[in-house]
């Protein structure tokens, strides 16, 4: 031994000498390994073997089919899978799946908070310990305050099955909702479509095959589910046209035949202008309007509803709706139970008003025509900030291309004080143009024979508590008498937020958050955070620690979506054939640590609270859901996909209604031009324009101080709402939140490309990085939404939750559609260059940005 080694030897002996008293910690006592049996299969398990596992991506709504390349039981990479609707295309989010699956930042064990809320102090506990804390607390609250004081939130609609299970479990314990995804996302519009045409089809029903025109309204085509472009491109090559209605010059707008840069929030004006021109020029599908809509139904101005036989004669039926029959020259009836006209050869009058027992009664379509008449080209142009030529061209392109136009929109038009009416107007625009259930139009009921997502919460039994609440909902609701059309009770986050902070109409006691980040994704983030700090007890099920998870009492580890089994359904925006395909999502690898499928967690929670979930577990349910396909789940796993062929004219064939009668699954059996539900619960039975509460038109005084419309919510390739800010890969591509500003506006405010900019509203100020573009009106700025900074600590503003997120400076009281309770994601604002650069403490250099996963010393590795 040389001299150096000798000195080291002596030191080593000295060091180990300190352990002489610690025999209990010796190797033999520890037993860190067990011997493999000679025939142990694990010893040879998959060594060197590469598996290709078919699955689907769930990082956006596109559900691109993917292959996981798994070597030695670990996920190596993800590839697109050709031969399906997505044709092998994937984006950065799918490529990044291995990063998130294998991220050391993942929550991998149940955690219990041991410090103050937001202090960031946690300790690991076992699942049993977690349940031992959770279940008694649930039982105590249910007994002491009632189950309606429990809020539950599944923050993303991408896993419909998860939402269904959550609803079943929590509704049956008496919960009336929480920060629902519905008021953030498209579900509010879905419910309007259910009442007006029977099924949501404005996002997903479109079919570019054989179309004349594709209308994309406020939808970022190249940000989610890229494969749509394959089908659009084929249509464009065939001669079809693409019209993009969007305040921003998006990638879709760049590929369009016509870009219609509409003022944010003024969409209704253009829809009504199209409807006005169709009706006034007679260029609409009169046959469809007569047979399949309630255009001809007469109105009762006294009741504000449709005119019924019971309104006209004692003993008359409430189920029979009056119309004027031009064949007989008399009032006749449509029976909404039998779905039959009262005469053999009906000739319903579409327009006009008719003397019925001495009172003039307008048809529903006439009422719409009268209301829409004011939307001339000139007025529409003034309201929408479009030129008269742009308005004319948009109207003409739509009408000339119909029937044979398909339509898809994004969620942005739902974030409005008039959300329900806009959804209704889109339905009418498509119906009068004859664009439903035809080649090149929209399927009213896109989907497959699998029924899982629709069934779970609909199938009995319902608990006694739930039945009591449903029978007396206003006694338990957080917003009684409002949002009645919305099927998820009180899934309105401003109502939940106010209940938490004011205790009115009652004080919520428990919050269960799953797949969600309400502090980041809901307006007035500070109030949401204050509310969640005040709640008695809170559980958060999550992949990663996030601002709202930091306020929980217990955090449970969720499995990654590619560590679990699911049937994936088409939804939210994607065209044929994706919208008729169910596909398998199955695990690439076992869940990390002690992570569990959220659905399994909910079944466990239900079991521990004695809630009858109908099916014994998710596979029992999956098998039931797949019955119509003739496959079990394991057979479906083997098959990979199930595709239903498109059937056109389903309304004529009895394929849209449960009773298999021709017609639509609405209360009238027809497409409702006049909606009684919206008349009762919304702003009116026919669509009408409402200026948004904060706009240069509605509040010119405010506009003096805050002159710009702050638009938010535009999609990009890297993030999905609040997700992926911890990803070094995504942050290397889009490191900062970006505010799009017209160069003229930037110049007026002393802002240059790349500057950190303060965006200020009456609620406060945030910072984003300026990107100057002619692709946005000089009176509008667009802010990236849902930003937070995982590199900042929990104690530092809940990971910078209020530094750059526009929701921190948006008022949650400004917008509330009475029918569906939508919320607000826009405001008036002003801008100026940040005097002190970026928010304090965020990573700004490449070296820092590479540090998300380790020590920031990559160059020293």
């Amino acid at each position: 031994m040389n001299a150096v080694s000798r000195r080291s030897f002596v030191k080593a002996m000295a060091a180990s000498g300190a352990l002489a008293t610690a025999a209990a910690l010796g190797y033999e006592a520890w037993k860190p390994f067990t011997a493999l049996a000679a025939d142990d299969a694990g010893s040879a398990q998959t060594e060197g073997e590469t598996q290709v596992i078919r699955s689907a991506c769930r990082n956006c709504y596109g559900r691109c089919t993917i292959n996981g390349i798994v070597k030695n039981g670990r996920l190596v990479r993800v590839e697109g899978r050709p031969g399906t609707y997505s044709e092998g295309t994937i984006c950065s989010r799918a490529f990044a799946i291995p990063q998130l699956v294998n991220s050391p930042l993942r929550v991998r064990y149940p955690m219990k908070r041991v410090g103050e809320r937001g202090e960031g102090k946690w300790e690991r506990i076992t699942w049993d310990e977690a349940w031992d804390i959770i279940i008694p607390k649930f039982k105590e609250v249910i007994e002491q305050y009632g189950g309606h004081t429990i809020l539950a939130n599944n923050g993303t609609g991408r896993d419909q099955l998860n939402i269904s299970v959550l609803q079943k479990c929590f509704y049956d314990m008496g919960s009336v909702g929480g920060f629902g995804v519905g008021s953030i996302c498209k579900i509010a519009g879905d419910f309007v479509q259910k009442t007006t045409i029977g099924n949501p089809c404005q996002f997903t029903g479109w079919n570019p095959e054989d179309t004349n025109l594709i209308v994309m309204w406020a939808r970022g085509m190249f940000s989610w589910g890229y494969y749509d472009w394959i089908y659009i491109k084929k249509a464009l090559d065939r001669g079809a046209k693409l019209m993009v209605v969007d305040p921003r010059h998006t990638a879709a707008a760049a590929k369009s035949t016509m870009w219609v840069p509409i003022r944010p929030g003024s969409d209704m004006a253009l829809i009504l202008a199209i409807i006005n021109e169709m009706i006034s020029s007679g260029r609409f599908d009169k046959d469809f309007a007569t047979k399949w809509t309630n255009s001809s139904f007469l109105l009762n101005d006294e009741t504000g509803l449709l005119l019924r036989e019971s309104d006209l004669a004692d003993g008359g039926s409430k189920d029979k709706i009056a119309y004027w029959d031009e064949g007989t020259g008399s009032v006749q009836f449509w029976d909404t139970v039998d779905l039959a006209w009262s005469v053999d050869d009906p000739k319903p009058a579409l327009l006009g008003s008719y003397d019925v027992e001495g009172i003039e009664r307008r048809t529903s379509l006439q009422k719409l025509a009268d209301a829409a008449a004011e939307w001339t080209v000139e007025k529409t142009a003034e309201t929408t900030w479009l030129t008269t030529d742009q308005v004319k061209d948009a109207i003409e392109l739509y009408i000339e291309s119909s029937p044979g136009t398909c339509f898809t929109r994004g969620q942005k038009t739902d974030f409005s004080d008039n959300s329900s009416s806009v959804s209704h107007a889109f339905t009418i625009m498509m119906a009068l143009a004859g664009n439903y259930e035809i080649p090149g139009g929209n399927s009213v009921k896109p989907g497959t024979s699998t029924k899982g997502s629709a069934l779970f919460d609909a199938v009995p039994p319902k608990s006694a508590v739930r039945q009591e609440i449903e029978a007396n909902i206003d006694d338990y609701s957080m917003c009684p008498g409002k949002a009645q059309v919305y099927g998820i009770r009180d899934g309105v986050y401003s109502a939940a937020t106010h209940a938490l902070t004011t205790g009115k109409p009652f004080q919520p006691r428990i919050y269960w958050g799953m797949n969600c980040e309400p502090i980041i994704s809901c307006a007035d983030s500070l109030e949401v955070a204050e509310g969640l700090k005040n709640i008695d007890f809170s559980v958060n099920v999550n992949l990663l620690m996030s601002p709202s998870a930091e306020l929980a009492d217990i955090v449970l580890p969720a499995a990654h979506q590619n560590e679990i089994d699911r049937i994936e359904y088409p939804q939210s925006g994607h065209c044929w054939p994706a919208n008729h395909t169910a596909t398998i999502r199955q695990p690439f690898t076992e869940p990390q640590g002690e992570c569990r499928d959220e659905v399994d967690i909910l079944f466990d929670l239900a079991s521990r609270l004695d809630i009858d979930m109908t099916w014994k577990d998710k596979y029992d349910w999956f098998n039931f859901a797949l019955k119509a396909t003739g496959m079990t789940f394991e057979e479906f796993r083997e098959a990979g996909e199930f595709v239903d062929e498109i059937t056109y004219g389903k309304h004529e064939k009895g394929l849209l209604r449960k009773d298999m009668k021709p017609g639509f699954e609405t209360k009238t059996g027809k497409v409702n031009i006049f909606s009684e539900e919206l008349q009762r619960f919304g702003w009116g039975g026919i669509p009408g324009y409402r200026e948004q509460p904060q706009s240069p038109f509605s509040d010119p005084d405010l506009a003096q101080e805050y002159p710009y419309v702050m638009l938010t919510g535009g999609r990009n390739h890297q993030y999905f709402h609040s997700e992926y800010r911890e990803s070094a890969y995504m942050r290397s591509i889009r490191p900062f939140p970006v505010v799009e500003i017209n160069p003229e506006t930037a110049h007026e405010n002393g802002v240059e490309e790349g500057d950190w900019v303060c965006i200020e509203t009456t609620m406060g100020s945030i910072k984003q990085v300026a990107h100057l573009t002619e692709g946005i009106d000089a009176r509008v700025v667009h802010c990236d939404h849902d930003w937070w900074f995982p590199e900042k600590g929990a104690q530092d503003g809940l990971h910078g939750a209020f530094d750059s997120n526009p929701n921190a400076i948006i008022d949650n009281d400004k917008v509330f559609d009475p029918a569906v309770g939508t919320d607000n994601f826009s405001s008036m604002c002003r801008i100026h260059k940040s005097p002190d650069g970026p928010p304090e403490g965020i990573f700004t250099t490449p070296e820092e940005l590479s540090a998300f996963l380790s020590n920031g010393q990559e160059d020293q590795q």
């Binding site: 030191k11 352990l19 520890w30 991220s103 050391p104 990390q592 996963l853 020590n855």
Partner: protein
């Protein structure tokens, strides 16, 4: 054949290695419990009596133990979660996996994970450490170093010097090929991120001993586990 030390010295060294690696491996494997804390108090008392190595990890551990009237298990659990599990006030930490330190993207379950699985399979053993699920976890690697040392010590006790040196050769291969590749950097991160002197002390002890070990065996031939066969 000439080796870096005599068989007698190897026997002493192996005993030291076994105890140090087993202790640090257990300290990193999960949150401290009563059993570990009792041992730490014993170690601290022995260290204080011997009053040696005042600047090293054991001294730091002794000072920490001296400040605690009761077992600070909650404080240590919070520090463990924040430092090693990525849960806590900072979103950086010392992630105790070789894959994180040796992969470009600093992820779990990368090439090092495969390699460690292969090492354990070649030795016909399986991981059985409570709360440790990954084969490239720092505790797995420290446990394997302890196991090698234990086997060397056992073989020398049986008079099988050649067999002992064969295992030692393999141990050196593993020490230099895996443990030294990342554990010193990991320990540096622990010292940077941990809030308590307890984990800084454990990191000091592990890191300092690994460096000593590597310096002692410098120049000695090494073998890979698969080539050397099962010990």
């Amino acid at each position: 054949m000439s080796h870096y030390c005599t068989a007698e010295e190897l026997e002493q060294l192996s005993a030291a290695r076994e105890s140090i690696y087993a202790f640090t491996g257990q300290a990193f494997s999960k949150e401290a419990d009563e059993r570990l804390w009792q041992a730490v108090e014993d170690i601290a008392a022995a260290h204080t009596e011997s009053n040696s190595d005042a600047s090293g990890g054991f001294a730091r551990l002794a000072r920490y133990a001296a400040r605690c009237e009761d077992a600070p298990l909650t404080e240590l659990a919070v520090d463990y979660a924040a430092t090693f599990l990525g849960i806590g006030p900072r979103h950086d930490g010392a992630f105790p996996y070789e894959s994180v330190y040796t992969s470009d993207e600093k992820l779990l379950k990368q090439e090092a994970f495969d390699e460690m699985n292969a090492v354990l399979r070649s030795k016909r053993i399986a991981l059985a450490i409570d709360m440790v699920s990954d084969e490239d976890h720092v505790s797995t690697e420290l446990a394997l170093l302890a196991r090698y040392a234990h086997d060397v010590h056992r073989l020398l006790g049986k008079g099988d010097t050649d067999g002992a040196w064969s295992v030692e050769s393999e141990r050196i291969g593993f020490l230099l090929g895996h443990a030294m590749r990342w554990i010193p950097d990991f320990c540096a991160d622990v010292k940077r991120c941990a809030k308590t002197d307890f984990y800084r002390a454990i990191a000091d002890i592990a890191s300092d001993f690994l460096m000593l070990d590597a310096s002692i065996v410098e120049g000695e031939p090494q073998a890979t586990p698969s080539k050397a066969g099962a010990a």
